[in-house]
Symmetry: C2
Subunit: 210 residues, 2 copies
DNA sequence: ACCTGAACACCGTTCAAGT
DNA sequence: ACCTGAACACCGTTCAAGT
């Protein structure tokens, strides 16, 4: 089986999923592929280009319902949920989507299709930008926060506080924290999406669904 | 001048601000402090603990208006703007706040004061969690996105697309992108905050400001 | 207690060499 | 064209040694 960009990017995403972004080195990736690390440089100019390919693989998984399948607002809402699903499926790789510039053809194609939905809603370019940043910022930020809740970050200080008496000095934290535990995160995300899409629906003149 | 945790953390933040997170190594940091890199380990157990201290320094700069100075909703709105200011002041260090777990005493103290505002608004613990994640997710995600707009990410692929013909094939991207340029980001953030706080104001029974 | 300096096990990347 | 292997300039961290 020859080495290809696709095989390498797939192995890189799998390695990040299992061992974390900080452990996805060219040498370890080469090891997974049963090839010398330096062979990868024949397919990618540098590690940044490889990480862009990993982003593309994740973006590929995020479906946007096709035009006409359902009203624009529902297409956008479904896309938002699918974006979050990628964050849950790849908690250790999602940071790439949240922190790296989108610079690939694949990413721009997706941008284009998403921004088309805003136009279908009747928003002009400026308002499309506003709502895009609002909904996208929330989805990205909430996805990162959920990832942090779902697992340890490798080089973070081990949980000094979460079970020591200090936490007891913070009554509001103690009261709210249970509602941000993993088993409640679906509800928390639903709430945020609900507020944002009710506001967007009011703006574009549809009646809110709920 | 003796080496202290404070001096080290301050130098680390300054180094990240100037050279980027990826160039803030123990050796380079030691160089800045005119000390052997290994001396830092006498003050911090490992790099993760140092990065937590850097986070604390940033959080220290983010002011929350004191109780009673202004209505709770305005205190929260001001805090949201101050949080974003930290993202703009430290675009290369802000990723720490967005991606690392908050695990320090300092971070929990701040959580406590912020969640107290939600309680002052009359929200119960569950709704506090919902609004906290909604507003916090947006602020964090938008801050990261703005940081990416404001500067190059070191190992990202150089801007292949931003000036090549490919972009021309994406009419919606072409139309919307100018509204997400740096000079318009204040407006974009204002819009998001406006939508969120109007919704929150409606929920807690105050009249929206605008 | 506080800092040094050598050492270990890693990195990303370059480059000459193999086939 | 595609891959190897040695080498370079870095990492974080450990540890024995200095003061």
């Amino acid at each position: 089986m020859p080495l290809t960009r696709e095989r390498i990017a797939e192995a890189a995403l799998a390695l990040i999923d299992s061992d974390g972004l900080e452990n996805c080195s060219m040498r370890r990736l080469g090891n997974q592929l049963e090839v010398e690390a330096m062979a990868i440089y024949h397919h990618f100019a540098d590690k940044g280009e490889l990480l862009d390919a990993v982003m593309d693989r994740m973006l590929d998984e995020i479906e946007l319902p096709p035009r006409g399948s359902t009203p624009p607002l529902e297409r956008l809402r479904q896309f938002t949920y699918n974006y979050r699903s990628a964050a849950i499926r790849h908690p250790r790789a999602f940071i790439l989507l949240a922190t790296r510039r989108f610079n690939t053809v694949c990413a721009f194609d997706l941008y284009e299709r998403v921004l088309e939905v805003f136009a279908d809603l009747g928003l002009d370019a400026a308002e499309s930008a506003y709502w895009f940043r609002l909904i996208g910022g929330f989805t990205s930020g909430a996805g990162l926060a959920e990832g942090a809740s779902r697992e340890r970050i490798a080089d973070a200080t081990p949980l000094r506080l979460e079970r020591t008496p200090e936490a007891i000095d913070h009554p509001h934290v103690r009261a709210v924290a249970p509602h941000l535990q993993v088993r409640n995160l679906d509800r928390v995300f639903d709430f945020g999406v609900g507020v944002l899409f009710d506001a967007l629906a009011a703006r574009v003149g549809d009646a809110p669904k709920s």
